[in-house]
């Protein structure tokens, strides 16, 4: 019995948001997000036939996301965002959600949170960051993450542990700076 190949359209519709989010969270500069996401799906399109149904589409796709993002990182890493700095006018962040979907206060708060999140993610090492994004933001399991980043479970655990520690510390630093600023 032939395994039914997923259709590109279905894969695209289902996973476009995941790819988009991941690209943003892995530190691709906002100006390059469009290109990176397109590139990801061009690869998906080309290689969909190679997808093996025993893997999860999401982990397979993330492998592609990672390769593309790593290429982009070499040239176009997001400039480190400073809270309340130039990033406050980052037009890209203004589009994070449909305007009609939420009230203005919620959107402002969310935008601020996203900016902080990205700034903190920027402080993590790449390998920790990848694991952290998948675990904490995509809520994937450790075995899934191991598959997605092509490493073993133990490595994922230790990266995740380190990533959480670094993240906590970075959050605390940001909070301290904010308080200092508001004073």
């Amino acid at each position: 019995v032939a395994i039914e190949q997923p259709r590109f359209e279905e894969v695209y519709v289902e996973h476009f948001p995941f790819a988009w989010r991941s690209v943003r969270r892995l530190g691709v500069d906002p100006s390059a997000v469009d290109d990176a996401v397109q590139e990801i799906f061009l690869v998906v399109h080309r290689r969909l036939a190679e997808f093996e149904a025993r893997a999860s589409m999401k982990t397979w796709l993330f492998g592609i996301v990672l390769r593309v993002v790593r290429q982009h990182r070499r040239t176009l890493r997001r400039k480190p965002a400073q809270l309340g700095g130039a990033a406050a006018m980052d037009p890209d962040v203004d589009q994070v959600r449909d305007a009609a979907e939420r009230g203005p206060h919620e959107r402002v708060a969310e935008r601020e949170a996203v900016r902080t999140l990205h700034a903190i993610l920027d402080e993590l090492d790449d390998d920790k960051r990848e694991v952290f994004v998948l675990a904490e933001l995509e809520q994937m399991t450790v075995p899934e993450i191991a598959e997605a980043v092509e490493t073993n479970v133990n490595t994922v655990y230790s990266r995740l542990r380190a990533a959480r520690r670094d993240f906590d510390q970075a959050v605390a630093r940001h909070r301290a700076r904010d308080q200092w600023r508001e004073r």
Binding site: R7, E9, Y12, D98, A113, T116, L117, I120, R164, D168
Partner: protein, 312 residues
């Protein structure tokens, strides 16, 4: 993540607050989809063909004429992917183009490349319908996004998209701006029968200027023909040359003067190649090239029995 020390409360709060904030907006979706569809179309068609087609799509909007409300569609149509072949008879009426054309281009593209000529060949009726779809797309972005995110929430448009009986064009159109040209057809594209298009809820768009597919050109028939060719394409994608041939025979029977004869003949070449019947394929290809020397499918037909490119 049990067994691991969790995040601090503060970190957790930040993540919860930011979790949804990286999702793409409606305009992100639309922009990327359009750009991607264009790239895929270019990948499908030979560069020159794609260029011509894009040009034709743009020109088609102007040439489309007809209802004034068509202007609503213009924006989308201009962004439309590879539309229409210059060679096709109906080429002037390609106003429909837009992503619907893209659906055809990439959707059938893989093996058939029916694509390129397809929209150009569409009769006036379908053009009217497609334009109607394009206008709808242009005017219901919100619905389109909702439809994409959560079909259940967007009653009219989403359900229409789901139940849409028209295989490629409408599937794509129905899903709205976020709908990528269908790269592969649905497993068993439903055939269009008379009246189904008319039953389509045109009213949901509030644009009566677009009578759904009942134009003078017999859009229903054309859609049925298109759906059949989509099945052919599906069969070819599944490397089922036998089924493709049977469907093509059905096509000849049901649509002896079909608007998509050129495409079906090209498909026949591909099907014969698929079956390893290279001699017959050459015969059909030779006839095709004599009859349609300028067909955008000609290069593809010429090379049909060469090893298939692994990607397109």
């Amino acid at each position: 993540m049990k067994g691991l020390q969790g995040l601090s409360r503060e970190s957790r709060a930040l993540i919860d607050a930011a979790r949804d904030g990286d999702d793409p907006s409606a305009s992100d979706r639309k922009r990327v989809r359009t750009a991607l569809a264009r790239k895929l179309a270019v990948g499908v068609a030979a560069g020159a063909v794609a260029a011509t087609a894009t040009h034709a799509a743009a020109g088609g909007v102007a040439a489309g004429g007809g209802a004034a409300a068509g202007t609503a569609a213009t924006g989308t149509a201009a962004a439309g992917v590879a539309a229409a072949s210059a060679g096709a008879a109906g080429g002037a009426a390609v106003g429909s183009a837009s992503i619907a054309a893209g659906a055809v281009a990439t959707g059938l593209g893989a093996k058939l490349l029916v694509s390129v000529a397809l929209v150009g060949a569409l009769g006036a009726g379908t053009v009217g319908y497609a334009r109607h779809e394009a206008a709808k797309r242009a005017s219901v972005d919100t619905h389109a996004v909702v439809a994409d995110r959560a079909p259940a929430r967007s009653a009219p448009v989403a359900s229409m998209a789901k139940s849409s009986p028209v295989a490629p064009v409408v599937t794509s159109a129905g899903q709205g701006t976020d709908s990528l040209p269908a790269i592969t057809p649905p497993p068993a594209p439903p055939r269009m029968q008379g009246g189904e298009i008319a039953a389509h809820p045109t009213a949901s768009t509030g644009s009566p200027a677009f009578p759904a597919g009942r134009g003078p050109g017999g859009g229903v028939t054309l859609d049925a023909e298109l759906a059949l060719l989509q099945e052919v394409h599906g069969a070819l994608q599944a490397h089922d040359g036998g089924r493709a041939l049977r469907l093509l025979d059905e096509h000849s029977r049901r649509f002896p003067n079909g608007a998509l004869a050129e495409e079906s003949e090209a498909a026949r070449v591909f099907a014969l190649c698929e079956l390893g019947r290279a001699d017959e394929a050459r015969d059909v290809a030779g006839r095709f090239l004599r009859e349609h020397p300028r067909s955008p499918l000609a290069p593809r037909v010429t090379r049909a029995c060469d090893a298939e490119p692994s990607t397109f």
